[in-house]
Amino acid sequence: MKIDTRHSGGVTILEPKGKITIGVGDVALRDAVGEALEAGSRNILVNLGGVTTIDSSGIGELVSAYTTVSNRGGKLKLYNLPDKVTDILQITQLISVFEVFEVEDEAVASFSA
């Protein structure tokens, strides 16, 4: 699992690729969100388009990231979800927790709204 980080319009965009699963991807996501917060970012957007598998630990890490960023006064949002990730968010009912967007421009603009 690999996570690229870039910036657009005052938003930190994290792009995980591969599996967000126990023992590997979940830790990488936690570290990437932690580094973004340490760097002062409070607007964090996660592009899930490159994620092939997300297990319950991966979902747990997304939830942790969401609450950690919220507790720091920031926002964490998701975009570009593969169908299987959407399925997971629906069955876990977390689709109602996260703000989810289809495309990056719309997602980035939402932080300024």
């Binding site: 699963t21 126990i22 023992g23 590997v24 598998t53 297990d55 319950s56 630990s57 979902i59 747990g60 890490e61 939830v63 942790s64 969401y66 609450t67 299987k84 399925d87 997971i88 629906q90 069955i91 876990t92 009912q93 977390l94 927790v97």
Partner: protein
Amino acid sequence: MPVQSSQVRISIGSRFEHIDLIQIVVDDALARLGLDEDSRHWVGIAVREGVANAIKHGNRQDPDKEVEVELAIEDDHAVIRIEDSGEGFDPSQVEDPLAPENLLKPNGRGIFYMKSFMDDIQYSQRPGGGTVVTLRKRIGDKGSGRGPAPRRNQET
């Protein structure tokens, strides 16, 4: 236990990095049985959860303790048994991850995943100590390509 020709049996040390190996073997076996890619994805996720639980909660990540995974064909079902050497647990005590007070908890969704993606899940005690989780998935229709069960329920 002797391995019959219709069975695959794998033992791994209790390390999370071994989960990929189990998923690859199970996926290959189910592909040979004709299960479609979508169905194999969800079965693979359920198997990952079962093995992760066996490693984490059963064997407490002791690399010297093994997790045994057996894939067998019984009637028109793929049956996957995952065994650990832990102290066992009562699945009825696991909290509902969909309850509002649990929704934002980072843990506690593993069994829910397995129930969602498989046709049946049963827990039993291993004779020498430990837990056996048995996952069943119908393969008689060669897979329907359908999504997870709860999503189907939402649509009805």
